[in-house]
Structures are given as structure tokens and as C-alpha cells.
């Protein structure tokens, strides 16, 4: 695979096929955990880890997995990898583990992981598959981070609260002073839906504008040769 192909895969995962705001997959963790940036990004990183490992392992082993039982084998591998990540979080990031709770084990059931394994890793070589897993994971993490930031800023007027769970001694940023009454709904589940709706609308708006601009002045090299000639 050349650089162009890798770039294509990465762009696909981060923007074109973004699993959070285009494919709308894996909503359960996205909505439940994005109450602040630290939680959101932590779960995103755990998901990247699992997706990269799952894609790598399955792409490497794809010739040994009989077609008939590929789904149970995929699930077995994903579940084992998630268990490893879960135990590692429990041991070394215990506070964060308590916050993320059930959502780390639930990565197993996150359809994105199985979808990428089935759609990509089972048919491609390990290098590209790992890039795909990482890119898809980064796409999800970006959505989580933006959602987390929106909800945290609006809901509690801070950024990066709980950062000391990752970097001991680090302090969160207080944006609107200690008297900010907070906008609790942003942190509660309805806020997650409203914020995600805004993100999806924002992405659609950008795409629509891009298309409108492309229509207005079509790029020269791709101008169709068989188009009716304009009168000079």
C-alpha cells in the first residue's frame, strides 16, 4: 500500500465515514460518556486501542479464520482484547476506570469495532487495517472530544475537569468563574442528543457548502469533455 492509500483510509475514518456523525454508530457510549472532555477522550483512546489491535490481529490471522465461523471468532478476539484493556485500566488508571465503568467492557458490543473488522480487516493486509482501525477510532474520539467539550463548557463552565486522573497535579480550566450556575441539561442525557444533533447539522452544513461551491465553479481538469460546447 502506498502513502496515498493510507491517506485515503485515514480521511475516510476521520471525516467521510466518521462513525459518530456520519454512520451514527456506537451511540450508547458516545452519548453516555461525553459529559466532559477527559471522560470522552479516555473512552475514545480505549476504543482506538481496541480497534487498532483488533484490526491488526484479525488482518494478520485472516487466512486462518474459516469464513463460516468468522463472526464468532471476531467476537472472541475483540472480547479478549477488550478484557485486556479493561484490566489494564483497572490496574493503572483506577479512578478513570471507576468513572468509565461499564462502558469499557461495552466496547465489545460497539458495532463500530465489529463493522471495521468485518468490512476492512478481514479483506486487507495488516498495515492498512491498523491504519483503518486507528483512523476510525480517531474519528470517534474527535466526535467524543468535541461533544465532551461542548457539554462541559455549557454544563459546568469548565474544561478538562478530572484531568488529574490522567496527569496527577494538573488543574482544570475554569471558564466563567466559580459563580457560573451551570446549565445542567447539557450534562444530562438530553444534552447529549441536542449536542450531537448540532454536530451532525454542522457537518452536513460544511458538506453542503462544499458541494454548492463545487457546483458553482467546477474544477478545470475534471470538466467533462463531452459537455456541450459553450458559445464563445
Amino acid at each position: 500500500m502506498d502513502t496515498q492509500a493510507y491517506r485515503e483510509i485515514a480521511w475516510n475514518g476521520i471525516w467521510k465515514q466518521n462513525c459518530g456523525i456520519v454512520q451514527i454508530l456506537g451511540l450508547c457510549p458516545i452519548l453516555a460518556i461525553s459529559t466532559n472532555i477527559v471522560n470522552a477522550v479516555s473512552l475514545g483512546l480505549a476504543t482506538i486501542l481496541v480497534m487498532a489491535m483488533a484490526n491488526l490481529v484479525i488482518a494478520a490471522l485472516r487466512n486462518f479464520i474459516p469464513y463460516e465461523i468468522r463472526i464468532p471468532v471476531f467476537i472472541l478476539i475483540i472480547a479478549a482484547l477488550v478484557t485486556v484493556v479493561d484490566l489494564a485500566f483497572n490496574a493503572y488508571l483506577h479512578e478513570l476506570y471507576l468513572v468509565l465503568g461499564i462502558f469499557i467492557p461495552l466496547i465489545v458490543t460497539n458495532c463500530i469495532v465489529l463493522a471495521r473488522v468485518e468490512a476492512f480487516a478481514a479483506k486487507n493486509e495488516p498495515g492498512g487495517s491498523t491504519v483503518d482501525g486507528i483512523a476510525m477510532g480517531i474519528g470517534l474520539t474527535l466526535v467524543l472530544a468535541v461533544l465532551g467539550a461542548m457539554r462541559e463548557v455549557v454544563g459546568s463552565g469548565t474544561l478538562l475537569s478530572g484531568i488529574d486522573m490522567l496527569i496527577p497535579g494538573a488543574q482544570p480550566i475554569v471558564l466563567f468563574g466559580a459563580d457560573y450556575p451551570g446549565f445542567l441539561i447539557a450534562i444530562l442525557p438530553p444534552g447529549a442528543f441536542i449536542a450531537l444533533g448540532c454536530l451532525i447539522a454542522g457537518r452536513n452544513w460544511i458538506e453542503a457548502r462544499k458541494q454548492a461551491r463545487a457546483r458553482a465553479n467546477p474544477p478545470a481538469p475534471s470538466a467533462p469533455a463531452d459537455a456541450p460546447a459553450e458559445p464563445a
Binding site: 450556575p181 451551570g182 446549565f183 445542567l184 441539561i185 447539557a186 444530562l188 438530553p190
Partner: protein, 340 residues
């Protein structure tokens, strides 16, 4: 999809909205009489915020401002917000709620005639979830003078825990729940005995029941003027009464009486002024009955078992979601009805 029949001509919208505002006056008069003129400040705040938000959104969307600003629909939304919020919430809460109603719930969905949710109730739900403590502090009738009210609305510090209480609805539910616990001193008391306190009147909350009567009078006038039909108020009150009657009849020590439900909280405001919103409510006659009855049952369920003080707002929004389905399912007979 049905659009409301009122959006054809701006002039008719304006006259309908004006009559709705007039119909609210008896309730507002009772409100001022029992709870003080603080509510007038809130009405003014909400109206100003609604007009400002509407004007800004119309400018952004490139719509004719004069036409839509004078149709009074924003003012109706603003008044319903002010009347459903506690009268002593801080000014920024009223303004934020009104702006959310007009900008997000009404204009972002396409403006008058397009919003799937009732703007006032949408704002109420957003604000009660966001600020449950501030949205649960209701003064009792005659408890606060105008100066204190102004200070609570515009002053920064709120030391109101001592001087305000929950709504009579919430207070009774709280009392009923502790009466059910064997450890409580209230154990075994019935709703009628629990309602012996100073916050309660004959039927509902003291003063609040008169405000509800004011809304009822205004609402009946609207029916007489043919601004609204009888379907929604009757179905809503009937369903609320019936569902409350069943469990109250079975276990009077555990539930509030049906009349208490009708006279308390936002029941009357909801029945005549909120659920009857032609944009977010059902449009066919059978649809209206179904829509309002559903809202009545849900109101009782949320009031009796939910975590927030009143259920009218949540019930309205839940039924708003079902309106397209209700309209679709009740459409067929309309052909026959149209001729008569």
C-alpha cells in the same frame, strides 16, 4: 402534513393571538391579587426577550420582520413561559428560557406554524431539568411583598430557602410518600389531613386554585369565541380526572384527589392555552381527543411517580412527538366530517 389553519393570513393570526392574550387576563389578575405584582415583571421580561429573539432570528433568516413581529405569537409564548415559571425566578432564567423557546424551539424548526414542539413547554422542560432548584421555589400566596420579589428577580444573592416552598403538588406528593414510610411521623395520615397546612386551599394550593379558575374563565371565553374547540380541554381534564380517580378511589391515603389534580399546577393553563396550540397539537377532531387524553393520563403519571414537580410540560412534549402519527391515523374520517 397539516399546517395549522391559522397561518394563512397574518391578520387572522394577530387577532387570534390577541384574543388568547385577553383570555389570559383573568388568570393573571388572580395571580397578581394573590401572589403580588412580581409576575407582571416576569411577563414584561419574557415579552421583551421573545420579541428580541424573534427579531434577531427573522433578520438572520431574511424574513419580513414587521409581518411576523406584530402577529403576537411570540408574546403568547412569552406569557405562557412567565406564567408557568415560578414568579420569583431570577431574570436571566426567564430571559434564557424565552430565548430558547423562540430561537431554538420555534425559529430553528422553521418559525410560526412549523415547530413540532410547543415552545413554552419546551422551554419549561429545558429549564426545569437545567435548574431544578430554582424552578421549584414557589412563594405561598401573600407571602412576599413586591420589594422582596424584585430583589429576588434582580438581586444576585438568593437566601430564599427559608421563605419559599415546593409547589402544593410537590408538597403533597412529598407528604404522601413520607406518610407511606413506617418511620415517619406522618405515617397513616390521608391526603385530606395532609392538606391541612397553610399552603393549601379548598381544592389545590391556596391562591393557586383561584388562578386556575381565572384560566378556566378565560378558556371558556375562547371556546365561546370559537378560537379553540371543546375537544382538547374536555379530553385533557377528563383523562386527568379519570386516571386520578382510579387510584385515589382504591387508595385515598396514597394519592391526591382528582379535583386537586385539576385545580393545581399547570392543569388549567395546559388544558385551555397550551395543548390547544394549533401548531404543535393535533388538528383533527378525533386526533384532538386522543392527543389531549394522552396528555391527561401522562400528566397524572408524571405527577404521581416522576421526579419533577409538575407533569403538564413533559406530557405536552411527549404528545407533541406523537402528533404526526395521531393526525395520520385519524385522517380518514375527516372526509366525511368536512361537509357538515
Amino acid at each position: 402534513m397539516n399546517n395549522s389553519p391559522f397561518v394563512r393570513k397574518a391578520a387572522s393570526v394577530q387577532s387570534v393571538m390577541l384574543q388568547v392574550l385577553l383570555a389570559l387576563l383573568p388568570g393573571i389578575a388572580a395571580y397578581v391579587w394573590f401572589f403580588g405584582p412580581g409576575i407582571l415583571v416576569q411577563l414584561a421580561l419574557a415579552s421583551a426577550a421573545a420579541l428580541a429573539g424573534e427579531a434577531a432570528m427573522l433578520a438572520i433568516r431574511g424574513k419580513p420582520k414587521a409581518l411576523f413581529l406584530t402577529d403576537l405569537s411570540a408574546i403568547v409564548t412569552a406569557w405562557l413561559i412567565a406564567l408557568s415559571f415560578p414568579p420569583i425566578v431570577p431574570w436571566w432564567l426567564t430571559v434564557t428560557g424565552t430565548l430558547l423557546a423562540v430561537v431554538v424551539i420555534k425559529q430553528l424548526y422553521g418559525g410560526l406554524g412549523q415547530n413540532p414542539f410547543n415552545p413554552a413547554m419546551g422551554a419549561f422542560c429545558l429549564m426545569i431539568v437545567a435548574y431544578p432548584a430554582l424552578m421549584s421555589q414557589w412563594p405561598a400566596a401573600g407571602q412576599l411583598d413586591f420589594a422582596t420579589q424584585l430583589q429576588l428577580i434582580f438581586g444576585g444573592v438568593r437566601e430564599v430557602d427559608a421563605i419559599t416552598g415546593a409547589t402544593p403538588l410537590d408538597a403533597l406528593r412529598t407528604a404522601l410518600r413520607s406518610a407511606a414510610s413506617p418511620d415517619s411521623e406522618l405515617h397513616g395520615l390521608r391526603a385530606a389531613q395532609l392538606m391541612d397546612g397553610p399552603a393549601f386551599g379548598w381544592l389545590g394550593g391556596k391562591g393557586g386554585e383561584w388562578v386556575a379558575l381565572g384560566y378556566l374563565v378565560g378558556g371558556l371565553w375562547l371556546i365561546q369565541r370559537r378560537i379553540i374547540t371543546w375537544h382538547i380541554p374536555v379530553a385533557f381534564c377528563g383523562a386527568l380526572f379519570a386516571s386520578a380517580l382510579v387510584l385515589w378511589g382504591l387508595r385515598p391515603e396514597g394519592f391526591a384527589s382528582p379535583l386537586f389534580h385539576l385545580a393545581s399546577g399547570g392543569a388549567m393553563l395546559g388544558a385551555f392555552f397550551i395543548l390547544t396550540d394549533p401548531v404543535s397539537g393535533a388538528t383533527t377532531a378525533r386526533g384532538k381527543l386522543l392527543f389531549a387524553a394522552g396528555a391527561g393520563v401522562l400528566t397524572w403519571v408524571i405527577r404521581s411517580f416522576g421526579a419533577y414537580p409538575d407533569g403538564v410540560a413533559f406530557a405536552t412534549l411527549l404528545m407533541n412527538i406523537l402528533v404526526p402519527l395521531i393526525d395520520m391515523k385519524t385522517q380518514a374520517p375527516v372526509f366525511g366530517h368536512k361537509k357538515d
